[in-house]
């Protein structure tokens, strides 16, 4: 499918970049004229994915996070969040609601939220090499068009 627009951002795994990352994607996604609810869903999913990189991929170090996004001609947006950190041993287990290796501060709901707030979630991971999370969401065409 034809890519209409794209962006690429790179930043270190500092927790104050969580807000930056979801706001940057929300800003880019606004080209699709989403509703506030749709924008909220995308921001939440991106926040979960980036937080995972900061908490799990690079628990004791600062590492690189890459955030890429594409807008397609069918009014959908794809967001790819990539790290070169710890990786995930068991992806199915990581996706289970309430499962976390993050302790008291975490809820274990990150992947569940990404899955239910977006149309598609794909997770590719190699332990010791890193993780790539791909999120996709179609934005409804509103009456009157653009």
């Amino acid at each position: 499918m034809k890519v209409v627009n794209y962006i690429k951002i790179e930043f270190p795994s500092k927790s104050n970049n969580e807000g930056f990352a979801r706001s940057a994607i929300a800003c880019f996604a606004s080209q699709l004229d989403p509703t506030l609810d749709e924008l909220g869903d995308i921001k939440t999913a991106v926040s979960e994915a980036v937080t995972n990189c900061i908490v799990h991929a690079y628990p004791d170090t600062l590492g690189k996070i890459s955030l890429r996004s594409k807008i397609y001609e069918d009014n959908s947006i794809e967001v790819v969040i990539k790290d070169w950190g710890a990786g995930i041993d068991n992806i199915e287990q990581a996706k289970e609601p309430m499962f976390t290796t993050g302790g008291e501060e975490r809820s274990g709901m990150g992947f569940t939220i990404m899955e239910s707030f977006m149309d598609k979630l794909r997770v590719k991971s190699v332990p010791g090499r890193g993780t790539t999370v791909t999120l996709r969401r179609k934005i409804s065409m509103r009456a009157g068009g653009r």
């Binding site: 927790s15 104050n16 969580e18 807000g19 979801r22 506030l36 609810d37 909220g40 869903d41 921001k43 939440t44 926040s47 979960e48 937080t51 900061i54 908490v55 609601p97 309430m98 008291e104 501060e105 975490r106 809820s107 709901m109 990150g110 569940t112 939220i113 239910s116 707030f117």
Partner: protein, 104 residues
């Protein structure tokens, strides 16, 4: 994010505003824990009217506050929850554990 608190007649009110994510959650939990430890309220209300964004980190903060209030034998509920935070809380079924009231 910012937190303000008021305490009167055994009731602690917590007002959360801004964005509650992983970055904000640790400080939020420390502040809330301190307010509970100092005041030992029999009732705690968390007002999310000023909260413009919350991700799953907020679930941990709310459940952590619930646990803390439970330990001292107090009640806990959450009020004025807007649409986006509500959707996150619903995804985790937090209403099964904590009383939650939507805004508006």
């Amino acid at each position: 994010m910012t937190i303000s608190a008021s305490f009167k007649d055994g009731r602690l009110k917590l007002f959360l505003s801004g964005e509650l994510d992983h970055h904000a959650a640790k400080l939020a939990m420390e502040r809330i824990g301190r307010e509970i430890d100092v005041n030992l309220p029999r009732d705690c209300e968390m007002d999310l009217d000023g909260l413009s964004f919350m991700d799953s980190s907020g679930i941990a903060v709310i459940l952590g506050t619930y646990k803390r209030m439970n330990q001292i034998g107090g009640k806990f509920h959450v009020v004025e929850v807007k649409k986006q935070p509500m959707k996150v809380l619903n995804a985790a079924g937090v209403y099964r554990i904590v009383e939650i009231k939507e805004a508006g």
